[in-house]
């Protein structure tokens, strides 16, 4: 048995120059509730955050072929991802912690079991985890995330929880090598706030933007000879959550959209099969270079995987569209050589 305990202390300073808006705490953070502007000079500290990050892991060697692991860790993250998933290409904005945005902290507990099977030719592992997250960020409705100067007024605080199961089987030796990995993982958020505009989905738990429950990856390699090999891999995962436009309505001559609850729906799942053949030139080591050809097909099944679903106002009509990139099989031929 082995025990590993560690601690890391991290701190973060947000520096000027910057102008920070101060909002009346009695009102929701909106442009008209700004009461003051704080001006920070260059290199002046706007706000600092610091805290310990603990980690602990316990490793039990059960037999010479199997082991069991428990681990706990706390992470502090000072960079936040904001993404609006209903645009044509999901608009991601990265934001550092600042006057308003506190660092995101996560406490994770995981249990893992590892074992060698069939005379050590196959590695098997299974791991379950649970993570509690504080200070996740999401956005208020009806705001834009790109080119937004006072974005703090459009953000909301949320707590999060994530849990899942990861399983892996792997054969790493011999002519035939393969691996099979499956992950079931969920991430949920729950908005916390004092004002109605800070509450999403009535304050209930809802799937985070990156919640993709199922993820399966299969790879397969076969060496026909020293000069010819074949490999293939297959990926399948659940589509990411999306907020759909549900209905349109007319008020005072304006065309408006009514949306579903946030992240209530999902874009269709992703599935892709690739194959490749590699043919090497002769293997004489005296040669200056070792050339080889690779023929591969990306997305062999030609599946039109959906990249995004978005909505547009066209001539007073709201239409929905589905965008797929690489919607057919793409064969490539590559000639390379090693020195």
């Amino acid at each position: 048995m082995s025990i590993n305990i560690g601690m890391r202390f991290s701190s973060f300073f947000a520096f000027g120059p910057r102008e920070v808006m101060v909002y009346d705490p009695v009102y929701p953070k909106i442009a008209s509730s700004i009461t003051d502007t704080l001006s920070f000079r260059s290199n002046q500290v706007i706000r600092s955050y610091a805290g310990p990050e603990f980690r602990m892991s316990l490793n039990f060697r059960l037999t010479d072929r199997s082991s069991f692991k428990i681990n706990y860790n706390r992470t502090r993250q000072y960079l936040h991802l904001l993404s609006n998933t209903i645009s044509i290409s999901p608009a991601d904005t990265w934001k550092l912690s600042d006057y308003y945005l506190k660092p995101q902290t996560g406490d994770q507990v995981a249990f893992g079991f590892y074992r060698m099977l069939f005379n050590r030719s196959i590695e098997a592992s299974a791991e379950v985890y649970y993570k509690a997250i504080k200070n996740m960020v999401d956005f208020k409705g009806g705001t834009r995330l790109v080119m937004n100067e006072n974005i703090e007024k459009d953000l909301i605080n949320a707590k999060g929880k994530a849990y899942g199961l990861e399983m892996m089987l792997k054969k790493t030796e011999g002519r035939l090598r393969w691996s099979l990995g499956y992950t079931y993982s969920r991430t949920f958020m729950k908005s916390i706030g004092n004002f109605s505009d800070e509450i999403v989905n009535s304050g209930e738990w809802f799937p985070a933007n990156f919640d993709k429950p199922n993820d399966l990856i299969v790879t397969f390699n076969y060496l026909f000879s020293r000069r010819l090999s074949f490999s293939t891999n297959y990926t399948w995962n659940t589509g990411r959550p999306i907020t759909y436009s549900v209905a349109t309505y007319n008020m005072g001559g304006l065309l408006l959209i009514h949306y579903s609850e946030r992240n209530k729906y999902r874009i269709p799942g992703y599935s892709r099969l690739d194959i490749s053949f590699k043919v090497s030139g002769n293997l004489r080591s005296r040669k200056i270079a070792h050339p080889y050809w690779t023929f591969s097909v990306y997305n062999l099944l030609g599946r039109q995987n959906v990249y995004s679903i978005y909505f547009r106002n066209e001539n007073n009509r709201i239409n929905g569209y589905k965008l797929s990139v690489f919607g057919q099989a793409i064969p490539t031929l590559t000639f390379s050589f090693d020195f």
Binding site: D24, Y27, I30, S32, S33, N84, I86, S87, A91, F139, K140, G141, G142, T143, R144, L145, S196, D197, T243, Y244, S245, V246, A247, T248, Y249, N250, M251, G253, I257, H258, Y259, S260, Y265, S285, Q304, I309, Y310, N313, N316, R317, I318, N319, G320, Y321, K322, V325, F326, G327, Q328, A329, I330, P331, T332, L333, T334, F335, S336, F337, D338, F339
Partner: protein
Amino acid sequence: MKKIYLILLILILLLPESCIIQFIPETEENQELLVADGLITDQPGENIVMLSKSLPLGRKNKTVPLKGCTVTIVDDLDRIHQLSEKQPGTYVTDPDLFVGETGRKYRLLIETNNNHEDNYSYESTTMEMKPVPPIDTIFYEKKTITQSDKLSEVEEGCQVYLNTYDPSANCEFYRWEFTETWEIRIPYDVPNNVCWITERSARIHIKSTTHLEEDRINRYPLNFISNKTDRLRVKYSMLVNQYSLEEDEYLYWEKMKNVTDEVGGLYDITPATIPSNISCVEDPFQKVLGYFSVSAKTSRRIFVKDHFFGIANPYTYCPSDTIYGMQPIEGLNVTVWVIVDMSLSMPPYRVITQDNNCYGCTLRGSNIEPPFWRDDEK
């Protein structure tokens, strides 16, 4: 052996393409929701509550009126006033029996009367009619759009501003709406060559003074009239209505403004559910769209009769054509409009024609002069 991979050649036999196809998602939500758009004020006259249903996506924007409802307004003295359905989906108060009063509180009640089982009743929250001060001034400034140079002439637009002030500091949350009217003239001697066009503002104008020392608004930019239309050619007028709002309604309009200002814009807006002050009594989870507004109202009109440079003239390129013929000319005033008929009773027949927009202005506006049109000349 040191390995360096050098990819010499990548041959892509088929070029990758992205593909966009139309897709209307299937959703389990009810797509036909109640849309209520109501406003009552302290001014005499009809107050209107419009009831309609929302539409599924991919349909042309139109209003589907909700007919046959029972619509009532109840005040804080429990006085009940029932509205009558003037047109399908348009419910109005009786001006002799109902005038809103500032300081009173009002509630809207709606009962659908379908012949089916699914009848619901809806109720708004209680809304107070807060007093509103008169509009202090509305004024305009000429704005230069392009400077004069050798190639182009000066182009000017007109920026209209509003000032308002509430010495009692009661109002704090304001909303404005305006109606534009302008005169157009066709430079030909045709039967209808002077008309007036009237259009309502589509954008949302709101402002709050809660964080100002005084309940005062200076130079609120209400409207910019560009030179791309002929609004400023002859004479232009704008009637501005100022409404008091409760804070809750202010927040409603603010969200609405965020969403509507960006429709079709470059940056996509995050999806927003705009909460209504109306809810369903039997099914509190049923979504209702729209708002029941209760506002005191004051109005002011401004006239703009000034010379602006570089204003668009839609009648510059009226194509004219002269038709000769030995036969009487057929199809006139169907595809071509007669400006001058020079036909004699005997051949050759000859008329000068033009397209219909140049022939008469009633396609764009009304040829009846608005009653207020000469108010500035008094």
